[in-house]
Symmetry: C2
Subunit: 387 residues, 2 copies
């Protein structure tokens, strides 16, 4: 099997970027990734772009061609992938498999979303398209409501982890304060979280990820096709897994463990030949605080129903034994939907290179990204190893 690595990364600052267009965001992040790779852009053979819903939010489909145009990549093939919030991870998987096939040697993979310019109701409706329209959206469901039901079921099957969910949020904001790209680098206290007004029991706003504009790109290449200079800083993809599940919540086998994650993680660990405990740190899809806890269980870091204990024990904190979302995560770095899966990789690669500055982890040899779409109907897991 061909050895494939990430050789360049770039992202924008995440946030409410009123004066920046889709084109601007793509240009900044993509150009940074190409410059970071230190390659001529003429050597890039294909572009894959994760983008969730610029069709509705920006009146713009075919965003992959827009990105290639903006980056001056000529007539290379491009495609947009959409798997709701896992659109970025899916784009990476498509590029990875294409290089594995031998048809391409070097590709660029990005993600972008521009959301904050639309009013709240439009954004909420745009995001709600990732549910089942007939059974859920039309019934008035929103994603906070949907994941709140999941949290309630978790409380019922295991125990009330509202306090631990709060600690997830506190940790995320603490981490974000060390990430210059983060949207909300503000200190948050557990008292503030626990006394906040509820929006959908057991969630307050502090349990929800952010609405974010931003873009992130990586350059991915076969190691047999790159020079010595690129190889020095290359971060190897040692595992890739992709899982799915039914769209409708009512059809799922469990609300407290996600089949899509189990399948993706199983495949990724199998390919890498490692166990969950070999992973040093992970960026997991914390669209809501309960989701972070469930994800860390599904990924095998903690036993089912014990993810909250790990949070309470400080294990998932930046200085814990299994740091989760050192970037600040979707909760505090931000959640530019189509870009999120790639931005997770930006963090993991930065850590594995030892270039994370103030938030650099001491133990960072193997890192994992976990990107979830819709009501856990799609999941991408990737495992990376540094030099």
């Amino acid at each position: 099997m061909r050895s494939i690595s990430v050789i360049g990364i770039g992202e924008t600052k995440m946030g409410k970027l009123a004066n920046r267009s889709l084109r601007d965001l793509v240009k900044e992040a993509g150009s940074k990734a190409i410059a970071d790779a230190g390659i001529e852009k003429e050597t890039i053979q294909a572009l894959y772009l994760g983008n969730f819903n610029s069709s509705c939010l920006c009146g713009q489909s075919l965003t992959s061609a827009l990105a290639a145009e903006e980056l001056g990549l000529g007539s290379i093939p491009t495609v947009r992938t959409e798997a709701a919030c896992a659109s970025g991870g899916a784009a990476f998987r498509m590029a990875y498999l294409a290089i594995l096939s031998g048809v391409y040697d070097i590709a660029i993979v990005g993600g972008v979303e521009k959301m904050t310019h639309r009013e709240g109701a439009v954004v909420t409706a745009g995001i709600a398209t990732a549910m089942d329209y007939g059974a859920e959206t039309q019934a008035g469901m929103t994603f906070p409501g949907l994941f709140a039901m999941i949290a309630n079921r978790y409380f019922y099957e295991y125990r009330d982890v509202k306090k631990e969910m709060g600690i997830c949020a506190v940790n995320a904001h603490s981490n974000a304060m060390l990430n210059p790209d983060a949207q909300l680098p503000k200190e948050l206290t557990l008292e503030k979280v626990l006394s906040a007004e509820l929006i959908a029991y057991p969630f307050s706003q502090y349990d929800c990820s952010l609405v974010t504009d931003g873009a992130a790109f990586v350059v991915i290449a076969a190691e047999d096709a790159i020079g010595a200079e690129q190889r020095k800083r290359a971060v190897r993809v040692i595992g890739s897994g992709h899982g799915g599940d039914v769209l409708r919540l009512t059809e799922k086998g469990s609300l407290t463990s996600f089949l899509a994650t189990k399948k993706a993680a199983g495949d990724a660990y199998g390919m890498a030949g490692i166990r969950p405990q070999d992973v040093d740190f992970a960026e997991v899809h914390d669209c809501f605080t309960i989701t972070q806890i469930i994800n860390t269980e599904d990924l095998g870091f903690f036993a089912s129903g014990r993810g909250g204990d790990a949070v309470a024990g400080g294990i998932t904190a930046r200085d814990g034994k299994m740091p989760i979302n050192v970037s600040g995560g979707l909760k505090a770095k931000g959640h530019p939907i189509g870009a999120t899966g790639i931005s997770q990789m930006f963090e993991v690669v930065t850590q594995l290179r030892g270039e994370a500055g103030e938030r650099q982890l001491k133990q960072a040899d193997i890192g994992l990204t976990h990107n979830l779409g819709g009501a856990a109907a799609a999941c991408l897991v990737h495992i990376f190893q540094g030099r």
Copy 2:
């Protein structure tokens, strides 16, 4: 290189299907393809779905998970690809490369679009998202207007082919009368076309493809992974090419030859080791009649500026030397946008198997599909060979 074949095909009738949902369409076409392949659905390892804009037109994103749920495919990985009108071809390319990589052996690839339930202005706006929003959509451009400019430029650089464009439409409708899945199987006369009211010079409505509901699916597999029964009817993918181009019309090097097609066709012919004249028949992307003429030139069937002569000489007719769009094409079979690239394959595979009934071509050993997205900003070309 792994030998990869289409082993099953299925599609719905195309048209204004008022009582059918996205789920219905996907279920019918997908189930037909699986039944046609004669495999157990448990052997399918991944699903790829071309879908252009159900996000805006149906309030439904993550349509790939919806499709897998409807087809009962469990937790297999799914992804939606979007490259405007080339979304279906792009889905097929992703599946092809994934199987080529060795990670999967059998995948299902579909396309779906549900459009006719929305009012005309909403459909027009939904389609217009495939242009550049800033430079084109906001200026009031529509696709008929955009391709009419292309036709005018073609007239300027070569000659007026309005009559030949009309013959394209007449041929398409004649072919559609023999296709039970076609949306408009109605006889059309050249007199009627040429006397029709113009909507954007030189186009009348008869120069434009249709607004269509429909779905099409294929099952694709590595030949080393299928049984003797499947191998008997398998149609081999001998060439796959994917090209791109800038999104904005003003940035293109030419309006009368599409760089994306040239790149995709060059790669597909190179992989297949054949020349354009070795192709027996083709389904090309006739979103507008002028596009069919340009495509047949870009694909190397005819010299630049001579595509109209070929049409006038009967060469592209069903009984001609290079039959184009025997299915009826986007013009008369219909254009269910995300499904179009897969529906083209449905026709080519049907012909290569000798199962096309009344519209069966005598010479059908090698067939080609050409699927174009946006203002020719994406193109997929695939070449198939029968047994």
